[in-house]
């Protein structure tokens, strides 16, 4: 193969076949993909959960991960949050002509390794190469398919007054790792992305606890945005306590330098878990047994709305003991003037 990705590689001809054989099949190998059909034929018992996500990240390789890993983690996590065990992935690559083959190879190897760790098969895929400038280096779409293992499954509208709000670990790591790399900032303690597949932790939790009300990964928009989505869907007030929210000191420091709020930064390896009060301790014990969730902790409580007809909202109890709203962002966080 040439040292750069050429338009030929997306043509469907011999060049495409070489790319599939020498790169994709080699790294994603499994019996279903090996059949080299146009699609995959799958069967799962019971209800299935499906989720799709498209990944664009700048830079493609960032501290703690890369777009390949992220494409697996992101979709595997979304499927897991539906109360499911992820089994299969589809994978579409949109590549800008001229991308170094070495870079594509690293991304594909990384994606393959992440899929094996998560225990999912990449069963079908697609490659398109677009002319230089028509896309920025590399975009990846993955769709995940999983087997729902609980009924009723956790859902955003099931938060109930009295429930405990738990988080699986520190917040803001991924967002700050990306933003500081983009700004060319280096911190004394390097900040790594937390990107990881959470499906094993989620499966243990679902099998150990019959009634998890809500599972959600606070990706884009961070904890604040995701909790608001839950509060609105469930029509409740989520009250969280600032001092209980785990944020690494280096992330806190970096955020204060850049004028950002860690509660709005993306996470790629954390989940919010809302369970009945009586199950909070049991849930934390199960979560902490997973190496990705050793820092799991309770951050707040679900309350009934204070006034009739009030839409769901998130209230933050500050370190001083005061209260304020924790709203949704209008758009992305931007650096400020002073």
């Amino acid at each position: 193969m040439s040292d750069k990705v050429l338009l030929d590689y997306g043509s469907g001809g011999k060049a495409s076949q070489r790319l599939i054989g020498e790169l994709f099949l080699k790294n994603f190998d499994n019996p279903e993909l090996r059949r080299m059909n146009d699609g995959a034929v799958l069967s799962l018992p019971g209800k299935i959960a499906v989720s799709t996500d498209t990944f664009t990240v700048d830079p493609i390789f960032f501290p703690g991960g890369d777009i390949g890993r992220l494409s697996v983690h992101g979709t595997v996590n979304d499927v897991a949050m539906m109360g499911a065990v992820p089994r299969y992935l589809t994978c579409g690559f949109l590549i800008e002509e001229g991308l170094p083959m070495e870079l594509l190879t690293s991304v594909v190897e990384s994606l393959g390794a992440a899929a094996r760790e998560a225990g999912v098969w990449v069963v079908t895929g697609d490659t398109k190469v677009v002319p230089k400038g028509a896309a920025d280096k590399l975009f990846i779409n993955t769709t995940g398919i999983g087997e729902v293992i609980v009924d009723p499954a956790p859902a955003g509208d099931r938060a109930t007054a009295g429930d405990a709000i738990l988080i699986s670990g520190t917040l803001g790591d991924h967002g700050l790792a990306i933003l500081s790399t983009r700004q060319g900032l280096a911190f004394e303690t390097p900040v790594l992305s937390d990107c990881a597949s959470l499906n094993h932790a989620i499966e243990a939790l679902l099998r150990g606890l019959p009634d998890v009300h809500v599972l959600r990964d606070p990706t884009r928009g961070g904890l604040a945005t995701t909790l608001n989505e839950i509060a609105i869907a469930s029509n409740v007030t989520c009250e969280i306590v600032e001092d209980l929210i785990p944020v690494r000191p280096e992330v806190r420091g970096g955020c204060s330098l850049l004028g950002l709020d860690p509660l709005y930064l993306a996470n790629e390896g954390k989940f919010i878990c809302i369970v009945p009060e009586a199950q909070a301790e049991a849930a934390l014990t199960i979560m902490r047994a997973d190496p990705l969730c050793t820092g799991a902790t309770r951050i707040g409580t679900v309350m009934a709305p204070e006034k009739a007809g009030q839409t769901g909202r998130v209230v933050l109890k500050t370190g001083l003991g005061g209260k304020r709203l924790l709203g949704m962002l209008e758009g992305e966080q931007l650096p400020r003037i002073c």
């Binding site: 700004q183 370190g319 003991g321 709203g327 931007l334 400020r336």
Partner: protein
């Protein structure tokens, strides 16, 4: 300064003890204004506002740089962004600020305008050096805090011969605005401002001297304060003591950052690159001597001269009470547009536009 030291400035027990002393000192209502938008946000974000006794009335002043940038100035830079061969370099705050016809820099960017968010003016010079085919215009919005850095960038561009670097200076000065606010005829008794918390960052440049007039001529107490909850509480305690004792003092309570004499070097840089000029403040109007124009020595880098930009006053937005809010005459939630026609997603007036605007802070953080 290490973050551990800063931790003490939001220690709950320390804050509680100052709050208790504050409550014991109050002899009646204390209506205070914080001039700076960063203080506004700090008061809301820390939850301090929900803890203050009801005698303390919190008013937000004209100290959010984005808020006071005039509609005509916003339209000027939006027009500029649409010009071919221009790259706009800006701090992030200005990206979403709406001009007339709902235009924003963000929307202009989507339409193909070249807009780059930078962290500092030197980044904009770098951008200019990398794009010799275009003129890179840095949007100079901000107070005395931002102006010295922009002034230094003009000198840097001149020294390095970066001939395609421009600055569009809409800088504003705090003391003339403060004086205009104080000189404005006093409103009904009990509706005025009793005391001020002065901006921490601006004071680091200008020092304490420019505030003396607040106590001496207008009989109001003022404290320069930092941005942590304990800083703000200590400032409020000082203001309450002044009120109780009938001594309108002006004090610097932010000595870990602000020297009484300010930063003479930064002021010298400003004085070299800028000359003072009249400026339009959104919601307030023309304030004599409250703006900064680029000095003739740096005329080659002046976007106003290069693109023949003239800023003319235009009628205020119908129904918008931002002028009253910025002067401390009206609480944001009492404006008839607040939360209805005017929200952070669709701001009508300047105070709802910026994250540091008092209306936006009220909308975003106020629980009740």
């Amino acid at each position: 300064m290490s973050l551990e030291i800063l931790d003490q400035f939001h220690d709950p027990a320390l804050c509680r003890s100052v709050l208790d002393r504050l409550c014991a000192t109050l002899t009646g209502p204390l209506r205070f204004m914080e001039v700076c938008g960063t203080h506004t946000v700090a008061i809301f974000r820390s939850g301090l506002r929900s803890l203050l006794p009801k005698e303390i009335v919190h008013l937000s002043g004209p100290g959010c740089p984005v808020c006071v940038t005039h509609e005509a100035e916003i339209n000027a830079f939006l027009d500029l962004a649409e010009k071919p061969g221009v790259i706009i370099a800006t701090f992030g705050d200005l990206m979403r600020v709406p001009g007339s016809r709902g235009r924003t820099l963000k929307a202009a960017q989507a339409d193909g305008a070249r807009v780059s968010v930078v962290y500092s003016p030197p980044d904009a010079i770098k951008l200019a050096a990398e794009n010799p085919d275009a003129k890179v215009v840095f949007l100079g919005v901000g107070f005395e805090t931002t102006a010295p850095g922009v002034a230094a960038s003009l000198m840097m561009a001149k020294a390095q011969g970066v001939s395609n670097y421009r600055v569009l200076s809409f800088h504003k000065l705090v003391p003339p605005a403060l004086e205009a606010l104080l000189a404005d005829a006093d409103p009904a008794p009990g509706q005025g401002i009793d005391a001020f918390i002065m901006p921490g960052h601006v004071s680091a440049i200008i020092g304490v001297e420019p505030y003396r007039v607040v106590g001496e001529r207008y009989g109001k107490a003022a404290a320069v304060a930092g941005f942590e909850p304990l800083d703000i509480l200590q400032a409020l305690l000082f203001l309450a003591e002044c009120q109780r004792d009938g001594t309108p003092k002006v004090a610097n309570l932010y000595r870990r950052v602000v020297r009484d004499e300010g930063n003479a070097k930064a002021r010298a840089v400003m004085a070299q690159a800028f000359t003072s000029a009249d400026a339009l403040w959104r919601g307030i109007g023309l304030i004599p001597g409250s703006g900064l124009e680029i000095a003739p020595e740096f005329a080659a880098f002046d976007a106003k001269r290069d693109f023949a930009i003239e800023i003319k006053d235009c009628p205020p937005l119908p129904g918008c009470k931002c002028g009253e809010v910025l002067k401390g005459r009206l609480a944001p939630n009492l404006c008839p547009l607040f939360g209805k026609a005017c929200t952070p997603a669709k701001p009508v007036g300047p105070c709802m536009v910026s994250t540091e605007g008092s209306c936006a802070a009220y909308y975003k953080y106020q629980v009740d």
